[in-house]
Symmetry: C2
């Protein structure tokens, strides 16, 4: 890993949705303030509650976002290539809302908070696009958390796979986080339940799995599982035991 | 109800957190574009998915926000005096994220979307405060939804009461929504469970209830219930039956 070349920076602009609408002058401003940063697997990039010094775009690798409340430690999301995290903390004045941990060696681009705030004042459209981006994230989280509260375990897994499936060479594929327990924790199911459901999806020919890559073979099959909630109501799965033990669990 | 007088407009600036940081020139700009609006109990102010024409501040009354997904209709929040709704839709480009319904006759202030967007371009600080406000809302929702996924029914009720308790004449009080089923739906518990828990909180002397007003007598008692999750883990309550029935339920 090294400092991204000019070509890689241009690519970054294209695959980070937050940056793709930038004007040449806005992008020039961003290039002047951002800096590459590397974190190793297991390393904490920032901690919930810490004052926000920067937000980050993932160039290579994967981060997990973890929320810590009294007695609770729960994975609330993963950030993969092109994704960003920490940007809402630049504006909330509340510090980081979550803790970000590298789940593998990661190459990031750090965008420091104060220089970025100054940029948004120079370029009002950058602030408006940021408003759009954070609003969309908020809406997506509103929908996801409602689904989580209402869906059964099968529906949660099917919905997560479909939501994260990106087209690649004509097929839909999803990169799984290296530790299954993190995904189980995100979906509020036990790792055993996740394993059982993934096995059933493979047996039914809806997905195929190669290491950490899940190929979605029949998206309509996953869709049918999600829609099944209309016909066959289930109570939601209880959360994994490790998140409700007396001590804060390791997620 | 009538058009708010100048004095009432000034008051509005003080009790709507979103407006309280406005400079005199920003407030002047806002005053020129906003307009009073009235909705009757049961009336829909805006529907999820509709293009956003305005966002709203509640001057008197209460709105409920409802999210509709395939097979799901769930209350995700209430907006009381001083609260605002719909502002993230001004920027997301996705239409309203939720449906807003008046739970009683409401007096609102409508802030139309396009004139407001123009204001944020004239006043970059207004856009930055809006970014702060929406980011805080996003963080609060992240915390609330994680608690919901992890807490038992007693903890959810205690946390909701504490979170919404506002000091008034030296005491903490919460205004309950007129229909208890809406609050039960928000907390993903049955109305019967909500009724049973409220009765127990009264018996234990932690709260007293007068009509729609709950007085929090011993906040430390509610705090202890919430903290109890460290010692006495419970699986979360199953969602109310009426939200998982084959047909979309009436929340």
């Amino acid at each position: 890993m090294g400092i991204p070349s000019d070509m890689e920076l241009t690519e970054l602009q294209h695959y980070v949705p937050l940056f793709s609408g930038c004007s040449p002058r806005e992008w020039q401003g961003l290039e002047q303030i951002m800096a590459p940063q590397f974190v190793e697997a297991g390393e904490i990039l920032f901690r919930q509650g810490e004052p926000c010094s920067a937000f980050y775009a993932v160039v290579h690798g994967m981060l997990k976002l973890r929320l810590e409340e009294p007695g609770i430690r729960r994975v609330v999301g993963f950030v993969q290539q092109g994704g960003t995290c920490g940007e809402s903390a630049v504006f909330s004045g509340e510090g980081y809302a979550v803790t970000a941990v590298a789940v593998c060696d990661c190459e990031l681009m750090a965008i420091p908070a104060f220089p970025f705030l100054r940029l948004t004042q120079r370029f009002p459209n950058l602030a408006l696009r940021m408003l759009g981006w954070i609003s969309q994230r908020y809406h997506a989280h509103l929908r996801n958390s409602t689904r989580l509260a209402m869906q059964n375990a099968d529906q949660r897994v099917a919905a997560w796979l479909l939501h994260h499936a990106a087209p690649r060479a004509g097929a839909l594929r999803v990169i799984l986080p290296p530790r299954r327990i993190d995904l189980a924790n995100l979906l509020c199911i036990t790792p055993e339940t996740l394993c059982r459901i993934m096995k059933r999806l493979r047996t039914q020919g809806l997905v195929s799995v190669e290491g950490d890559i899940v190929h979605v073979v029949k998206p309509e099959g996953l869709q049918a599982i999600i829609a099944g909630m209309r016909e066959r109501p289930h109570p939601p799965e209880t959360p994994p035991r490790d998140t409700t033990t007396p001590r804060i669990s390791r997620a």
